[in-house]
């Protein structure tokens, strides 16, 4: 057994174990500490005794025993009173034995625990930042430093954000439960948004050396799958998973071997992950049959149109423009309008694309890097070179990802040399 084995068990199981422990103990911090302690024990024991057949069950049971020990040992009289109820409930369960892997029969409960934890982390009374941070911390098993780096904030800031979010949930007696059907429209939205944000950050990282952060996009995909498995009747959850699969399928073609970015039009489509595309397509079709369109499903449909095209030239841009029109009806924001303008540029030529772009509220998009990059491209294609160079410079100044910046700089130099 190697360190890598332990790390991969941690990545796979930490969120699940934490979710279960929070249900059992009713306390987030205690559960987190207990899971960390159980992994520390595993790091000592597994290399000697070998990995147990059900590592996740072993971790959960060990963490539970540790937590019970600690509650008995450390709790003040007041805490003890509160914990007594929970301990009593625990005593009713069969005696936990780490070696017996007695949690095999609890798979459904464990899956539910994760969903409950997802809804707790994405509680609508928390800020979106805190929702994402807490989801990555508790369900993704990422440490505070990793989350801070992913969102380019100092570690102390991220630590404070997480502590504050946990405290707010605890002080307010937030319940650890799956929302009822009537509450879902309000409660599911933040959960989907948090997963989408994690995926987007993984897809085009705002920091780090590479274009992508595979750990983040993988974690978002995993959470998306958990959500769909547990709520198969929520079309938007299915739509988000399809969108992530179809987007992630392009990952192998998005960079060259030296890490440079390749834009969609220039990608070698034979490198796209066909298994992911097939899975994404099947989900999009399932959504279409249900006919309850929503923003994630429409975005997935757009990604499916791209995936359908054997070459960039064969892309059905009229379909994509129509889908963006539909998306705009759900989300009338300038970013959707920008993407629609880019699609118009492909369908009816750069001049019309530029006209659509110029009709947008430039002030609201002033800090949005893709706006400047799209404008630079369209200006270059209609031959307005000087303005295009200026727009490229604007885009580069707003790009934090090195691979993306490299791509834009090469475009700029190409234009400059033609001048």
């Amino acid at each position: 057994m190697s360190d890598d084995d332990l790390t991969s068990v941690f990545r796979r199981e930490a969120g699940r174990c934490t979710a279960t422990l929070i249900r059992v103990l009713g306390e987030v911090d205690l559960a987190e500490d207990a899971v960390a302690e159980a992994f520390a024990i595993a790091a000592e024991r597994w290399p000697v005794h070998g990995m147990p057949p059900n590592p996740g069950g072993w971790i959960t049971t060990t963490a539970r025993n540790r937590a019970i020990d600690r509650l008995r040992r450390e709790s003040s009289r007041a805490d003890r009173h509160r914990a007594a109820h929970r301990l009593q409930a625990l005593a009713m369960e069969p005696d936990p034995d780490p070696e017996l892997d007695d949690l095999d029969g609890l798979v459904d409960v464990v899956a539910d625990d994760q969903l409950r934890l997802m809804f707790l982390c994405c509680h609508p009374a928390l800020s979106p930042d805190a929702q994402v941070a807490l989801t990555l911390r508790l369900l993704g098993g990422l440490d505070t430093g990793e989350i801070a780096r992913a969102f380019v904030v100092p570690e102390a800031t991220m630590a404070q954000r997480i502590v504050r979010a946990k405290r707010k949930l605890r002080d307010n007696n937030a319940s650890y439960r799956i929302p009822e059907a009537a509450e879902l429209p309000d409660r599911l939205g933040p959960v989907l948004a948090a997963i989408a944000l994690i995926f987007t950050e993984g897809h085009t990282a705002t920091s780090g050396d590479g274009l992508v952060r595979v750990d983040l996009s993988t974690e978002a995909l995993r959470l998306g799958r958990v959500l769909v498995e547990l709520m198969p009747d929520e079309p938007e959850a299915v739509g988000l998973l399809a969108l992530m699969l179809l987007t992630d399928a392009r990952r192998p073609a998005r960079t060259t071997t030296d890490g440079s970015m390749v834009r969609l039009a220039d990608q070698d489509r034979s490198l796209w992950d066909q298994a992911r595309i097939r899975e994404g397509h099947a989900l999009v079709r399932a959504c279409l049959r249900r006919n309850q369109p929503g923003p994630y499903q429409i975005q997935a449909a757009i990604a499916a149109v791209h995936a359908d095209a054997p070459t960039s030239d064969a892309t059905d841009w009229s379909q994509i423009v129509a889908l963006y029109d539909q998306l705009y009806a759900f989300r009338p924001n300038p970013v959707v309008a920008l993407n629609r303008a880019i699609a118009v540029g492909e369908l009816r030529g750069a001049a019309e694309g530029l006209a659509a772009l110029d009709a947008l509220d430039a002030e609201r998009l002033a800090d949005y890097q893709p706006y400047h990059a799209a404008r630079a491209d369209l200006l270059a294609r209609v031959g307005r070179t000087a303005e295009s160079i200026e727009a490229y410079e604007g885009a580069i100044a707003r790009t934090t990802n090195p691979a993306e910046r490299g791509f834009l700089t090469r475009q700029l130099h190409r234009l400059d040399s033609r001048r």
Binding site: A78, H123, A125, L169, D171, N172, N173, A174, S175, P179, E183
Partner: protein, 117 residues
């Protein structure tokens, strides 16, 4: 069960003129909300406050004396106009009451849990 404070915030100039239809509507809404809280067993205490100009702030000094100043503690555009203390099973139940409170009094409502005893 956790107890929560739900406080209502008004512009400092806010004063209820009960003769206006707006005020009458709000009073009727808040009455109905109070009845709902009581019927559900969530009501602990509540009431509206006189305007902030009626406030006095008392501060203990190091010599044991207490100073008094006229007017509210914080110089702020928004001042607390009234509050409820409610009891709710969990955060979501409390948020639901706070949502109804905000609709009833047509103004912002701040929700905060009491510390455990």
């Amino acid at each position: 069960m956790t107890q929560y404070l739900m406080s209502v915030w008004h512009d400092e100039e806010y004063e209820v003129d009960f003769s206006t239809p707006d005020a009458q509507r709000q009073v009727a809404q808040v009455d109905a909300f109070n009845n709902e809280l009581q019927a559900a067993g969530a009501w602990v205490f509540g009431g509206g406050l006189h305007p902030p100009s009626s406030a006095t702030v008392l501060r203990a000094k190091t010599d044991g004396d207490v100073s008094m100043t006229d007017g509210p503690y914080a110089e702020s555009k928004e001042q607390m106009g009234g509050f409820w203390v409610i009891e709710a099973a969990d955060f979501d139940a409390a948020l639901e009451w706070a949502r109804k409170a905000a609709v009833a009094c047509e103004g912002p409502v701040e929700l905060r849990p009491f510390q455990d005893e």
